[in-house]
Structures are given as C-alpha cells and as structure tokens.
Amino acid sequence: MNERNNLSNTSNAANDNVVLADLGTMIREVIGEEWAEDVPIEMETSFAKDLELESIEFVALAERLKEKFGKEVDFAGWLGSMELEQILQLRVGQLVEFIVRCNSASPTA
C-alpha cells in the first residue's frame, strides 16, 4: 500500500470517519442513481475511476459541501488550485482530510 492511501492513521481518525460518512451520503445524492446506493465509498475510493463522477456532479457536490460545512471549506477554490490530472486522481480520503483541516483551522465554524 502506498503512503498516500494510508489516510485513516491520523490523530483525526474519529473526525475523518464522521466526515467520510457525511461525504458518502452527499456523493450518493449527487449521483442520484440506484447503483450508487451499494457502491462502497471509502478513503481510497477514486472519484473518477471508481465512482465515475461527472464534472457537473463535482460542482453539485461542492455546493452541498458549502451548505454543510460553511464557506471555510472552499472546495471550489481547492479544486481550482489543482491541475486537471490531479483532479482525475483525486480520492475521497483527500477530500475528507481537506474538510477536517479546514474545520480545525476555524473551530467556530
């Protein structure tokens, strides 16, 4: 296993799990199809390869994140700072870590 995938071994593991569960629900909502109910959504899950998330679904996900976590989680800006190839490689765990990091940087959120 490569190190990048070993995301749950952090001190924020409990937080990670809560965020992961929320995120899984949101991802299934934006896909909005029956098959998505049964697909496991874990830290290692790839948005493009495993979930085949469409770009417009990413946009819808960004909006849900903003509603749920507030403006501190600037998903759009975070994606905007990446090259397209990086976005293609993006895994659910990276987004979980990003959200946890944003939330701990602004505990009042």
Partner: protein
C-alpha cells in the same frame, strides 16, 4: 442548489468569488455535450480570486431543466438576461462564451450593449456554419458509432475513461437532440453578419485553435469588431479550452484585469 426560473424554466447557476466586486464575469458554455462545469474547472476559479463570477447551465443542459420546446435564440437570450437579473443585476458584465456560448454572447451584446463591458469569445462558433445540420448529423448516428462521435465532440476531462459517463452523456445528448425542438430551433437561428460585428463597441478578446473547424468562417467576422484582440493558438482544434487550458485561462484573466470597469 442555486436556481432561478426564467419563463417557467428552471436554470441552475453557480456564483463564485467576491459578490459586488467591480469585475463581474458571466460564463456561457457550448451546446449539447457541455455544461457549466467546463468553465468551473478551467477559468472561472481564477477570476473568482478577484471578481464576481457567475456560471449557468443553458436550458436543456447540465442541471438546468430540459423543456421540450423553446431553444430559439430569443429563449436563450432571455435565459441569460434572467440569470443576470437574478445575480449581478443590470451592472455591466464581461461575457465569456465558448463555441455556441460565444455566439450567444455576441447576440446579447448586440441586443443589450449597455449590459456588456467586454466580450471573450473562445473558439466562437460565429459564422453561418449550419449548427443544426451538423449537430443533427452527428447525433443521428446509432449505437457505438454515435457514442464515439459524441465522445469525440466532448473533450471533457472526466469523460475520457468512464463508460457509465459516456453512456449517461450520450443518453442526455439524445434526449436533448431527439426529444426537444433544439435542432429545429437552431436551424431557424439567423447567422451573424459582418455588419453585426462592426456594431460591437465593447472591448473583445477572441481565441481560436489553429486547426479549429470553425475558424475559417468566424475569424473574418471577429476581425470586424472595432476593439478586438485575436489570438490563434498553434496546434489546437476547436477544443482549446481543454487543449490549452492554462493559456486560455491566463489570457482571459489578463483581459478581464484590463477591462475591469
């Protein structure tokens, strides 16, 4: 989800960046195999760093409603005006259009010159290119051949490796082309003329791919605009937004910084 209803049709939009900033930019995407995400993942966020940015899905596209009828130019322009009214109001904006989105942006500038501070045309589909005929020909193909043609016409980054997505997009495209008046309405859309372009006083930036299939008919037209900078990107086709993302982004950002009212 951010939506506004124009003439009974629900339109999805996204607003990014600094609300009320002096620089206001509105992005208009291309036809059928496109939606606002193309702009969202390429140029919009760079402008949102200092501007008030709006993106919307054309009717029938992305997360907007797909009515069976009403894809005439007047409907599409009404949608754009409605989205502006719901977001930045009547303050002048820079319109940034890709392909057919560039065509709509030019039309809007002709109809509402007071609301347009600048125009960016990205491989604008501007000449008399028989939109409707070409679209209908591509999408009347069947089965795998149709899927290939659709995939080729849609260079979206997430579309390259996904079968679910290819099928879903192909289904959406067919629903739009076969299930609505889009093609008929496009066929009835009058072409832009050189005289139209001569009337556009707003500063403009036109970017074209060297090997674009629309450059030959469009370039002589954009050259008629009194204040237009034209850049032809070597080695690119019609899909310059995907083939030269960084250059397109930089040129648009620089243009907007200069034009900022």
């Amino acid at each position: 989800m951010a939506e506004t209803v124009v003439e009974g049709v629900r339109l999805h939009y996204q607003r990014l960046g600094v609300e009320g900033a002096p620089l206001r930019a509105v992005f208009v995407h291309g036809l059928v195999m496109d939606n606002l995400s193309s702009w969202y993942f390429t140029v919009a966020n760079a402008l949102a760093a200092f501007g008030d940015v709006v993106l919307y899905d054309l009717r029938g596209h992305g997360l907007s409603e797909r009515p069976a009828e009403g894809y005439r130019e007047v409907d599409m322009l009404g949608d754009l005006r409605g989205v502006l009214d719901a977001t930045v109001g009547d303050a002048p904006v820079i319109l940034v259009g890709n392909s057919y989105g560039a065509f709509l942006s030019v039309r809007f500038a002709l109809r509402h010159p007071e609301r347009v501070a600048g125009l960016v045309l990205v491989d604008g589909h501007l000449g008399d290119d028989d939109f409707g005929e070409r679209m209908a020909a591509t999408l009347s193909l069947q089965g795998e051949e149709a899927d290939r043609a659709i995939a080729a016409s849609f260079q979206n980054w997430l579309g390259r490796q996904s079968t679910r997505k290819a099928t879903k997009l192909a289904n959406m495209a067919r629903a739009l082309v076969n299930g609505t008046s889009l093609v008929r309405d496009l066929r009835a859309t009058p072409p832009l003329t050189a005289a139209d372009f001569e009337r556009i006083t707003a500063p403009a930036l036109a970017l074209y791919g060297e090997s674009s299939d629309v450059i030959a008919r469009s370039l002589p037209l954009v050259a008629r605009m009194p204040h237009c900078t034209v850049r032809v990107l070597p080695g690119c086709t019609h899909s310059i937004l995907w083939e030269a993302t960084n250059e397109v982004k930089t040129r648009i950002v620089d243009f907007c910084r200069e034009v900022r009212p």
